[in-house]
C-alpha cells in the first residue's frame, strides 16, 4: 500500500511529508547549533576579564568574507535549480545544481586553506578556549556542508534519473535539499560575525 502524501500536499496541513520532515529536522538542527552558540556565550561571559582571545587575533576576515559570498551565491543557485525544474527546464537545473556543488567545493577549499594555515603557525583546538570553540563550530558546520554536497551530488548524478519517471517527486526532492542547504548557509551567516568579527 502506498504511503499517502508522499508527493502531493495533504489538504489540511498544506505540505507533503518530506517537506514537513525536513522542517522538523531543521528545528532539531537549530537546537544543536543553538546549544553550541549558547556554550560560546557562556564560556565567553564566564571568562575572567581580559583573558578571552578574540577571533581577529588569529582569523583571516577577508577569506571568511569570500566564503560568505560563495555560500550566499550557492543558496541563490540552489533556488534557481528548483525554479528551473518548476519551469520544466532540466538542462538549466543541471547547470544551477552544478554551480551549487562547485560553490560547496570552493567553500571547503577556502576553509581547508584557513585550517592549514592555523596548523602551520601552531594554532590548534587545544591552544586556547576560543580556538577550541572556533574549530568545533566551523568543523561541525563543515561536516554539514559536506553532507549537503553529498545529497546535492546524488541529485545531480544518479538521483536525477527520477526526473524521467516521477518529475513532481524529483522537484520536491530538490526543494527539500534546498531547505537544508539554506539552513547550512544561514548557520554560516551567524558563525561569521560571531567568530570572526565580535
Amino acid at each position: 500500500m502506498e504511503i499517502p502524501y508522499n508527493v502531493e500536499a495533504r489538504p489540511d496541513t498544506g505540505v507533503y511529508n518530506a517537506k514537513l520532515g525536513v522542517w522538523l529536522f531543521l528545528a532539531s538542527e537549530v537546537m544543536l547549533f543553538g546549544a553550541l552558540f549558547s556554550s560560546y556565550v557562556l564560556l565567553r561571559t564566564g571568562a575572567p576579564p581580559g583573558t578571552w582571545h578574540h577571533g581577529r587575533e588569529f582569523l583571516n576576515v577577508p577569506l571568511a568574507t569570500l566564503n560568505t559570498i560563495i555560500l550566499i551565491a550557492s543558496s541563490v543557485t540552489m533556488v534557481m535549480s528548483w525554479a528551473s525544474l518548476k519551469l520544466n527546464d532540466f538542462r538549466k537545473y543541471r547547470m544551477y545544481m552544478g554551480f551549487t556543488l562547485l560553490a560547496g567545493v570552493g567553500f571547503l577549499i577556502v576553509k581547508g586553506f584557513e585550517y592549514g594555515h592555523k596548523f602551520e603557525v601552531g594554532l590548534f583546538p587545544k591552544s586556547n578556549i576560543f580556538l577550541a570553540i572556533y574549530f568545533t563550530l566551523t568543523g561541525l558546520h563543515g561536516l554539514h556542508v559536506i553532507g549537503g554536497m553529498i545529497v546535492n551530488g546524488y541529485l545531480l548524478g544518479p538521483g536525477a534519473k527520477m526526473w524521467k519517471t516521477e518529475p513532481e517527486r524529483f522537484t520536491n526532492r530538490i526543494e527539500v535539499a534546498g531547505l537544508y542547504w539554506h539552513f547550512v548557509d544561514l548557520v554560516w551567516i551567524f558563525l561569521f560575525p560571531t567568530l570572526y568579527l565580535l
Binding site: 500500500m1 504511503i3 499517502p4 511529508n17 532539531s28 537546537m31 583546538p125 587545544k126 568545533t136
Partner: protein, 588 residues
Amino acid sequence: MALVDERVAHGHSESHHHELGFWQKYVFSQDHKVIGIQYGFTSLCFLLFGFSLMMMMRWSLAYPNQPIPLVGKLLKASGGIIAPELYNQLGAMHGTIMVFLGIVPLAVGAFGNYVVPLQIGAPDMAFPKLNMASYWSYFIGGVIMLSSFFAPGGAAQSGWTSYPPLSDIAPTGQTMWLFGMLFLIISSVLGSMNFLVTIIQLRAPGLTWMRLPFFVWAQFVTSFLLLLAFPALQAAAVLQMMDRLAGTSFFLPSGLVVSGQQLAVAGGGSPLLWQHLFWFLAHPEVYVLILPAFGIIAEVIANNTRKPLWGYRSMVYAVTFLGFMSFIVWAHHMFMTGMGTVMSTFFQTTTMIISIPSVIVLTALIISLWGASIRYTVPMLFALAFLPMFAIGGLTGLPLGLAPSDIHLHDTYYVIGHFHYVVAPGTIFAMFAGIYYWFPKITGRMMSSKLGQLHFWPSFLFINGIFMPMFIQGLAGVQRRLYDGGASYSHAQPVLHWNVFMSISAWCLALSQIPFIINLFWSIRKGQKVGANPWEATTLEWAAAPSPPIAHGNFPEVPTVVRGPYDYSLPGASQDFVPQHQPQPQEA
C-alpha cells in the same frame, strides 16, 4: 467487524504479489510492525541486562567487600569482590542502559512504532527507510555501549550523567560512551521526526486532533521533546569528545589539579556548562520516560472501565503544557552547584508549575475509575498499580524541586527512591500493561492470565520492598554512589540494615519476572487464539486483522473515523463499545 473478515479473506491472495525475502522481511525490515517488534525485543534484552548490573550492585551494597556468588568467578583479579571502580562502572552503565537503551526504545521505539500507525489508520510510518535506519542506529549505539565493558580501564564510570571534569579524564570507556550516545541521539532524532510527520500527515480521514487516542497524543508530545531536547546532549557530547580527543578544555577550568599535579591544558572551561547542556536534555527526557506510560495507562483504563476517559481534553492540554514547561525546569538538578539564588528561585517556581499538569493527568485517570464496573484483567492490574506508584514517585519529587529541602536531600538515596518510583513501578509497570494489552494484536493470541497474575503480585510487592526503604535511608543522609552502601559512615549505621532487605527484594523481583518471560514465549505459540478485537476496544488498531500482515499495509481499505476515541457504554448502542470507524451505534 466486516472490515476484518474482508481483510482475512484477502490476506492470502494479496501476499502473493511481491513476497519479500527473509532478510528484508524480518531483519532489515521497513515495516513499522516488524521494526516495533525489533525495538521491543532488543530493549527488553537491554532492560534485563541493566537489571542484572543492578543486582550485582545490590550485592556490593548489602555485603561490601565479600566475594559475590555465581558471577564472582568472572572477577578473578579481585577474587570475586566488586571493587569500587567496578561498582562505578556498573552504576553508570545501569543508568545509561535503563534510560537510553531500555525504556525509551521500548516506550517510543516499540510501542510507538507498532501502535501509532495502527491507531491513526495509516498504512505505515511516513518514512519507512528512516525508520529502519533509526532502529539500526540504536542497535549500533547499544553494541558500542556493551563493548565498552571490554575497553582498557572498563566502561564509563562517571555516573549516567557523565559530569566533567571527572568524565574528561576517565579511561577509554567514556569515549565509547560518547560515541554510543551519538548513535542513540541520531536514532532518536530520526525516529521522533518520523513520528511527528506520521501523526500530522497520515491520520485517517475524519481523525481530527481531538479524536486522537490519548496514546497518540502522548507519543506526539514525546516526539517533540526528543526532537528538540536531544541535540543539546549531542552538542555536549561533541564538546566532551573534543576535550578527550583533541585536548581542548571546554569543561576543564584553569588550574585544575588531578592527583596532586596541575593538568597541562589551556583551561578556561566550565564544568557547569556540561551540567546545563546535559540537563537541558535530561529533564525533558524524564517526561519522555513518563508520557508514553501515561498514554498506555489511559488506553488500558478506558478499555477496562468501559467508560470514556474523564477529562480527555484537559489531559491533552495538560500533556501539551507539560511538554512546553519541561524545557525550562532543567536547573532544578543543579541547586547545589552554586549557580545563585536568583536562578534557583526561577527554576523552583517553574518546577512547582510543571507538577500541575502531571497531577491533572493522574487525577483524570483516577476519576475515570469512579463508578465503573472494572474488568480486572492483567493489563488493568498493572495500570491500577501504576496510579499510586507514580503518585508516590511524583509527590516525593516536590521536596527535591524546592532548593531549601533539596540541600538536605541532594545526592542521597531519597533521590534514587524518588525517580525509581517514577520509572520502575511507574513506567515499567505501564510497559508491562502495554505488552499484555497489545500482545493479542501482535500475535493473535492472548497471554496467560494465570501467569500474568503470578507476575504482577510478587512484582508489585518486591518493587516496593526495594524502593520504599530508600526514602528512609535518604532522609537519614545516606549518599548515593557509595559502593559499600554507607557502611563506612557513622551516620548511616542506624539505617544500614535496610540494605540487605532491599537487595533480597531486588533478587526476588528478578525471580518474579520468570513467569513473565515464560508467558511471553509460551503464549506466542500456545496462547489462546483470539479475533481482531479481544478486549472489545474502540480505537482503530483493533480494526486491523490480528497480527496484521507485514509490508502490505495495515487495513484493507482506509478506515473513516466518525467518532471520538473512547465511545464506551454509549447510550442507545447495542454493545458497550462503539469503534471509532463505526457510523451508527445500532449496527454494533
